[in-house]
Symmetry: D2
Subunit: 275 residues, 4 copies
């Protein structure tokens, strides 16, 4: 029987590998929507995240809240995941991905070729374009990027992106920032069953229970931003998400009990009262 020590050792071993790079945490977060840099720094620390996504366009244009972002975090400890938020077409996304690679180099991450690919023509739901995303992914893979595409939870699209050489797929649970939770669970489950690359559930998670649920389903990692940054107490929620994603991962490895239609006594009724 496995002892508690063995259990903890196993947990230490359970790393996430993306494009050959090894990470201990399976929780990623972002830099958007925090009220202050200080709150952002505390939240990222509390989350124990190693991967943090940054909107290249916003840094480039020094959009509000992004002036000085490059200096606000210690990039020797955090792996930057540049994203192409704000791009409506494959072409735009490809250009912004290249800018992102330059940005990572300037911050000292010479070998960082990661890009979170977002091709989002829709301003209301911020849902990604499957056609444009596949097109951009194919080009960026050719250019040597490790591509992490943000997609609707479409299992066939996920498989095609994997075949195109993407490093992960990032299906959405529900629209970005909506906090609706995992609305596409059936499709995400199919994606997980069929993927040989990591599946990162991205967008829609609002609570730790939803974070745990995604990990229990077998997701390899999560990206959570709004639910942390906009919580009343952002660092505390970051901590809660860290704990919950660990709990979900551990449960996935621990073999949950089957769901039964009927009850099953914790204390079987074999005894008789003798008083």
């Amino acid at each position: 029987m496995q002892t508690l020590n063995m259990l903890l050792e196993t947990a230490l071993d359970d790393s996430l590998v993306i494009a050959g790079r090894r990470f201990t945490s399976r929780l990623m977060t972002g830099t958007g929507k925090y009220r202050t840099f200080e709150e952002m720094r505390q939240s990222i620390a509390a989350s124990e995240c190693e991967i943090v996504t940054v909107a290249v366009r916003r840094v480039q244009t020094q959009a509000p809240g992004h002036e000085g972002l490059a200096d606000a975090l210690d990039w020797s400890k955090i792996w930057m995941l540049p994203n192409t938020a704000g791009c409506q077409t494959a072409d735009e996304a490809i250009r912004v991905a290249r800018l992102g690679r330059e940005m990572a180099k300037l911050l000292g991450q010479e070998d960082n070729n990661f890009v979170k690919l977002e091709v989002i023509p829709d301003a209301k739901y911020l849902l990604p374009d499957p056609i444009g995303t596949l097109e951009a992914a194919e080009q960026l893979v050719k250019e040597g990027f490790a591509v992490l595409p943000y997609i609707n939870a479409d299992p066939i699209l996920a498989k095609r992106l994997e075949e195109a050489g993407c490093a992960t797929v990032m299906p959405l649970g529900s629209p970005i920032g909506s906090g609706q939770g995992i609305k596409n669970a059936a499709n995400i489950q199919i994606i997980i069953e069929n993927a040989t690359i990591p599946v990162v559930v991205d967008a829609g998670i609002g609570t730790p229970s939803e974070a745990a649920q995604a990990m229990e389903m077998g997701a390899d990692a999560l990206l959570i931003n709004t639910a942390i940054a906009q919580a009343a107490n952002a660092p505390a929620m970051a901590r809660a998400m860290h704990l919950a994603h660990q709990a979900g991962r551990l449960a996935y490895q621990s073999g949950r009990i089957p769901v039964k239609a009927y009850a099953s006594a914790s204390s079987p009724l074999t005894g008789t009262i003798t008083s």
Copy 2:
């Protein structure tokens, strides 16, 4: 702004008080259904539980798996919660509660007057009898017990038990051992809103995500037994439940984001591409 240190201090302060007694952990577990005593001990350690429930009748009758149970745990560190499992009527439960008090005394817990009250006439679903439970609770309160009644999630019954002087109410999420999760969420929410005594969600939780969900709803504590004891790796699942219940509590205190019908960009699209 609250710093991470302040956050951790607050967390330390956040204790559960039942009948005047203070507990750090909000997760309770049981002793039933483990494969071995060793696995039980490891799981209870991994769960960091302080309250462990024991079926008085099974100890009394030395039912299988209960011989030597009294010696298997260190009762100087764990608070025993004797339960009346196996009792079908108020009278039976009252008698078994008294036995439980004796048992606690024998194990060195002189001032332990806790009893988890179960009056369960139904062998298939193991659902409690509201009438018999209220009747037994009234009597046991008179006799000085701290009564923690196991009930169906009926808000009016919960209120009547509170008025009768119970120390907590323990509504069930779904039938014992079924692992169906929180099926009565709407009623449990109403119970939580109206209670001035701790609400402990008991029975039905199968996964850490469900544990977190109950705590996010504002439950004061959880009792989880089968989902831990019968998991493929019981100590690892115990740890997962510990992490998840903490995550849910922290989220409850941290103010989750509202659920929105539409998306809300993590990286607002105010920038323009300049490449």
Copy 3:
């Protein structure tokens, strides 16, 4: 094989029997909350209901919308179900039930001994008191009433009311008028499995799909009032509820396909293309 004609004949045969009285429709409605008597009459006609519940206290006191209610419906065609809405204790409910019987007699229903028993101490959620309800039911059964008690979805309470001689049980799906749908499905399912008297799902249904769902679960009948009376077009919604409750009943009798984890082709792929 059953022909369509045989099917329709079977449907004609499928009557609801409560306390020895036979009804063709399995949908009941009420008289509260309509904007006008004319809309009420049209809605009741469109619903094809045979049983309509009336709040005895409101008629007695000529509360707004209840003046003239007795004359507004044709009681030679509709079976009145007097209810004890507004009663907070068993005693009040017993007295109002007796008044209801008188009221039915005055309207020409000499042999109508039905009463919808509501004992509701709670003004916010309008949830029933299990203890008071059982107490009043026992008394009213002794006095010869056909008692239809409104209850929280508690299977043990339902069984005790059946044993006390009630004519039906009426578990709530969710709080009255909330339109939340069937929130207590797991418990209602257990009640249905165990009952030998009709189970009438009462309160909470907001849409035809929820009405159909309850009937598919095997409920014997439904009581729907607010979802009809307060719909933008009440008579049209009444018709929709009629159709949906029939659909659900028919589906219950027709044997639904099992839910499968995987797909199963409608048009199996045994052919090959020959073009």
Copy 4:
């Protein structure tokens, strides 16, 4: 106020228009998986469907259950919807669509240019390929087909198919034949909100309540095959689906009550007891 007669007249007016062709029923069905032709005929009659889909490849190859299918139904009354089931690529689907048009002509539907476009590379979940589907749709629209593409519930893909000139979009609720119901409700809702062509929910519906739910969400039509053909009593289930889809449509037009967190009395408590 609208009278019942006015209501029924409105209902008669509420026709479904696809590619300029008008249909009274909003329920479509198929010919696959029936146990006998007789049962199929009775079920289609009971469903009151006007559009029935047929797998072109299976007719072409005289696959089991498809010999004589052409003669088994009265095609002067039923509009044939040829489908491309069994096609894994855009090219295959285009060829089969052309065969389908010939088949419709042979059966006397000279002007029938409808095709249900299925491009399904996956044998386990039978999920459609978004890229291949768009490609085939663009070609078939050029060739003058009224294209009804079967798609995963991806709002951006749906919009692109609409822009490509498709006659409808047919998002799936859950995998074909799985009977899991509407698992992609959030995405289907977004598709409905944004479409200017009819949205037909296709695949996954297992029960009348799920059929009603899709119509209440505002779907313009449904395609249901397995849930009818494989029900224990297929004609009765067909009837149930007909009733339920009507109920859902009527409810969509009737303005449902809002969902409330709290109760709202059907019989407000303004009266006082006077006994």
